[in-house]
């Protein structure tokens, strides 16, 4: 064990925070969805780190299903972006204010 799991967890924390910044600050809806994918990848890295260091394959099973759910969520999210783009011709999230009072 040259690299302790703590380094992997710290890297996962940094990637999760960068994803959070992307969700908070970017106005392009597609880039927001990509930042959510980055956050999911950071969590997958944590799960695989613990699973491999403790010898329990259940963590990697959870990663497997997490990847499947991320694929489904990306597909549906992008379909919604396309549907909104059809009517408003914008992907800027600050212009999609239909529910704003």
């Amino acid at each position: 064990m040259d690299v302790s799991p703590n380094w992997y967890l710290a890297l996962s924390a940094v990637l999760f925070t960068i994803g959070t910044f992307g969700v908070l600050f970017r106005r392009n809806a597609i880039v927001v969805l990509m930042s959510v994918e980055l956050m999911l990848n950071a969590v997958n890295l944590t799960l695989v780190t613990f699973s491999q260091s403790m010898g329990d394959p259940s963590g990697q099973m959870l990663v497997f299903f997490s990847i499947a759910v991320a694929a489904a969520e990306a597909a549906v999210g992008l379909a919604i972006v396309i549907a909104i783009f059809r009517s408003k011709v914008t992907v800027d999230i600050t212009e999609i204010t239909l529910f704003k009072h």
């Binding site: 967890l9 970017r26 890295l45 491999q52 403790m54 549906v76």
Partner: protein
């Protein structure tokens, strides 16, 4: 756990690619930076001896999900739109939330808490992360979860087709 130089190289490129995705102007550039980041994370999985998940990451995440993103970006033809002033750096609250989150997570990591389980040897970890072990428990212990995931993907496919359909008025 492989040599430290491999981990630090991959980790540095992964963080640089994530920052590149965050600040890139063009959404296609953001997508390509994210592809680089996903490849780096797949490399990190391989340094952990998680071979199955590493390959699945490249096949599914970088190979299917990011291709979907790039297709949608090209389909929407965003270059025809006026250039958006994309990043709102003016909200201080967002910065504070991000920095607080990062410091909380790094504090927990720095505590070096005791897991109560000794780390296993690399050979055992390689066997745990292999396709044989994961395939065996996927089809026995997690068979129901696998079927539910299949139904979820079916629902997502039908939903995506319905949502993106052109309305025939």
């Amino acid at each position: 756990m492989a040599a430290p130089s491999m981990f630090f190289l991959l980790a540095t490129v992964a963080v640089a690619a994530a920052l590149g995705m965050l600040i890139a102007r063009n959404p296609v550039a953001s997508a390509l930076w994210l592809v680089l980041n996903l490849f780096c994370i797949a490399g990190l999985y391989l340094t952990l001896n998680a071979s199955f998940i590493g390959v699945i990451q490249i096949l599914v995440y970088a190979g299917a999900i990011m291709v979907l993103f790039l297709f949608v970006i090209m389909l929407l033809n965003l270059s025809a739109l006026p250039e958006l002033e994309d990043i709102e750096w003016s909200s201080i609250g967002g910065f504070v939330v991000g920095i607080v989150l990062l410091s909380q997570l790094l504090y927990v990591v720095a505590l070096q808490f005791e897991l109560g389980v000794d780390p296993v040897a690399a050979e055992t970890a390689a066997e745990v992360g292999s396709a044989a072990t994961l395939g065996e428990i996927l089809f026995t212990r997690y068979a129901l979860h696998l079927q539910v995931a299949g139904i979820l993907l079916l629902a997502a496919t039908v939903g995506a087709v319905l949502l993106a359909q052109r309305r025939f008025e």
